[in-house]
Subunit: 421 residues, 3 copies
């Protein structure tokens, strides 16, 4: 190497080094989004286990079948329509945009607008998210909804309803312009699933025998190990759900999100534990399990913008809300076998409000009115859409199984297969 | 810092920066191979759950025991013999090479030939792969094969048979030179397991009562939740199986592989769902579960070289093949309790052929004749080896348990332990 | 760009490139610690499944409830007190240090002392570790300890006992200055849990009917699939437990640790398999499962400093120790339903001694006397603390359930909920 080489030549070497560093940064960021995708994927197993554990033995095959079909329908629907409806790259600040059927990957699979990961990573991460919102509905309507009715609803929900309200915020639509804040989807994913579930519950009515002579009859789940397995797998997946929503491997943010997510989960368990003990003098496993989930749903809107202490408070309150909410829905005779509305709808709303209370955000973002408008607009759209969808399906093919089928169980009636033998 | 420093000094700073970037790149690539290893590892749990779920209650401990021993025998056999037989670094383009017992790590654990990850990462990733092929056999021969006979077979299969055919392609042997293409092992791993299973099935005969008076008697598995858990865990692990087979964290390729793998899985579910409904008017959970696995096996050969739409087609056809193949094997009175031959052999062959149909490859690679030669040569070698191995073990110690033991169940007969109480 | 730019300007470009490379290195290292955290987290599910599988059907809800509460109590206790007691950044070489309640993150979440990852990553990784040691105790005292007594013990154990002895080595206390070596915690985590378990066992006494008329009555677990699931999940998590303990994504070290960890696990299975067969002529699934765990515990102290062949020897001996140790504890009438003392205490001690036998360390580190002093000091402190804690709780509220409650099962007695129905 000569002393006489020009500055230009040396500068080229320095620039090559910088480019190499930036390429690795892209690689690491992209890798994290992919790993987060794997974690969100396993939430589908978590939901399947949780819901299967919380239903009666005679309806286990049915709920497993639904969960297997949800992810299948979900990914295909989101591929065909949903992704381009949620992220059209059009109509910024608006109500609706659609950039066409199927996927439209940019040249080389990445563009300036996907600075930190590839187009394919973006799609598959978002698709795994989308499919979870349908899973929330399946638990609430378990043990008496017709399989085909539910599958039809799933197609409509993932292709149309979820992406439209998702666009409002994450696709840079009008709620984003307004200042609504929802980090990883307390509202956009969880309460959306909860509103869909509520619409189904109302049209479907309670299970036979649940509310008789003015009394609430507990119908405990058939397998507590399965339900526990489900909750731990959901928490496991939530590291990807919240951690991946940073949309890069940014060390400070992803680490903080891991801590706030975990602390809200354990505080949720603690809140439900204490509330159940105080209210009912019981050590209620199903409440504590739902308390963890409530804490996780509660922190989802604000995991990146609150202190660790705040995350404990948010989770603890979510945990207390669980037994109160379960009683509340029972009073309304809204029969939700797995407590999905308490976990995802009630704690989803709470978490979205918590942004305004605990969030460290600049003025004009995540303020109480913004959050209330977000909750109300997404909630009313989703509830109306879901109610209409279930109503039309009811008119078309019916949504509830025959009382005899409910009695004998859906496994025998719809699948001719016992879950255990 | 002086203005008078020479260009040489400045260039050294630039080169240091480039070296730092390259070191991080190596670190990130290596990290992905290790994480993929963890994912492939959990496939062993997936297989254990799937097979345990699909057998009768009286044979659950036995199948769990086999699965625990397979990974143990597999890793040790591959360490002792298999790795140096599959990747001898010798006899390029040939049929056979062996670079000695045990491992021979290069100085510092990495060499030029392992540009993107360490020697140890390479070994452990490959070893987890190797052990899976034996697991495929265990499901097919479940409920009537002697434990010791199966364990002996496992040693021979993982130390000798799998590495030799693996060398032909992945160790740079003659099939690689020919142009045979098999990205992550539709043939090299899955159909190899399937051929071993087929040899075992033929020599072993069907379970008592499976085929009587010309009728096929369904013997449903004892736990659908366990089987479902297994399938989701296998899919979870497949992100590492296919994603890790990129052999780097290359953003474009790994992302694409994640998408094609997932879409083939859901299309497989859809294919089996529709085929079962059309053929049998049933919503058959076990078919849909095997449809997912069929789709995953089908995409394994081509996950990095097909479009997303093609991956949907490949998976969908694999899904349709599942119920057809199950009927076909039953007609031949080849009794496979978990459907391993349908999933891994039939869909493995289909996936390998799909490379020629859908793959975007340069001329001379992955053409139909290449693929057929690969399927036929690896298939015939593996089948012959396995048949001979099972035959010799049969002569030596017998391969089938006594009819009384089969009747009472292997858990009591061989382990004196009930799976549940 | 002009040929006349100064060297200073070009050097700035080179330095910018180096800084970029270093930032990505930090990002990748931090990402690995976070992923390892996720893996260690899932060990809590592994323990829950293992323990639930190994207890009787009537005590399943109780053990699940405990495991859910342990991680909740564990993370909160470690947040409030434990972390600043274990890593006070004070009193180097000493016996005790405490830097105050709660967390005290440095500005920006990272400092020089956390060169490879953020403060938050450090906390959450360590907190997941801390909670596991309590889980070990829960298995040993299962089926007869009062829920509230156990929860109280957990708070004390994770806030005080575990962090103090942890400080001695990992917090740069006196054992670290002495030369004691314990890579990922054969002693600091596993035998600590084992000593706590032993103290509980002694004060609690055996389950009714376990030792009668001088005979040992086997009380097999209620679900072998659940126990098997637990063991695979624990192994899965151990990739993070040991791999994350490298405290960076260093390619050579993390890869080696993955290999030694896996090989010790499979050798442990093999050791227990052979020992059980030779001693009892049985193919004992529960022994083989505990053999895997024994191998994993055994390699934990030395996974980064032994050859692969040594890891096989360490694991194999650990596996042989399992059936011997189970018999030994039974002779002492120390009734441990899940074998936690054999796995974590006995193999934890063995693994710590193995450092001195097989470890490639510089003189003055990890020598036999260092290791013995570490084992003895940490063991005696932990045992004394735990004994005193359980003793005080016994005086205060009692530690054992009423014989009638033990008879009917804790699920009904303490939770009024059946695990299955």
């Amino acid at each position: 190497m000569s002393d006489f080489m020009t500055s230009v030549e040396v500068l080229a070497a320095a620039e090559e080094a910088l480019k190499a560093a930036e390429e690795v940064k892209f690689m690491t960021n992209n890798l994290w989004i992919l790993i987060a995708t794997v974690l969100v994927f396993i939430m589908h197993l978590g939901f399947a286990c949780l819901e299967a554990g919380f239903v009666q033995k005679k309806n286990v095959v049915n709920i497993l079948f639904k969960n297997v079909m949800i992810i299948s329908i979900g990914l295909i629907s989101y591929y065909a329509i949903g992704f381009n409806l949620m992220y059209p790259g059009l109509n910024e600040g608006g109500f609706f945009g659609f950039s066409g059927l199927g996927l439209t990957p940019p040249e080389g699979g990445m563009t300036a607008s996907y600075a930190d990961y590839t187009y394919w990573s973006d799609f598959i991460f978002q698709a795994m998210f989308a499919a979870t919102c349908c899973t929330i509905v399946s638990g609430a309507v378990a043990e008496r909804m017709k399989l085909m009715a539910f599958l039809l609803f799933s197609i409509l929900f993932v292709s149309i309803s979820y992406p439209i309200t998702g666009f409002w915020k994450w696709g840079a639509g009008w709620l984003d312009a307004l200042g609504f804040y929802d980090f990883a989807g307390s509202t956009i994913v969880h309460s959306v699933g909860g509103w869909g579930a509520l619409a189904g519950l109302i049209l479907l009515g309670p299970r036979k025998g649940k509310y008789e002579n003015g009394k609430v009859k507990a119908i405990p789940g058939h397998s507590m190990p399965l339900a526990t397995l489900g909750v731990f797998l959901l928490w496991f997946g939530w590291f990807g759900f919240n951690g991946g929503s940073v949309l890069s491997a940014d060390p400070a943010l992803v680490s903080l999100v891991f801590v706030t997510t975990s602390m809200a989960a354990v505080a949720g368990a603690m809140g439900s534990f204490l509330a159940s003990y105080v209210l009912y003098k019981s050590f209620d496993l199903s409440m504590v399990l739902n308390g963890i989930l409530g804490g996780l749903v509660g922190i989802t809107a604000s995991a990146d913008i609150v202190s660790v202490f705040s995350s404990l408070v948010i989770g603890f309150i979510a945990g207390i809300l669980i037994p109160l909410s379960v009683s509340f829905f029972d009073k309304l005779k809204l029969d939700d076998p797995v407590g999905a509305t308490s976990v995802h709808l009630v704690c989803g709303i709470w978490g979205t409000l918590a942004v305004a209370i605990f969030g460290n955000l600049e003025p004009g973002v995540g303020e109480l009115t913004d959050q209330l408008i977000g909750i109300a607009s997404i909630g009313s759209f989703t509830f109306a859409f879901s109610f209409l969808a279930f109503f039309l399906i009811k008119k078309l093919i019916g949504i509830r199984v025959h009382p005899d089928e409910e009695q004998v169980g859906l496994d025998l009636a719809e699948h001719n297969l016992a879950a255990y033998r």
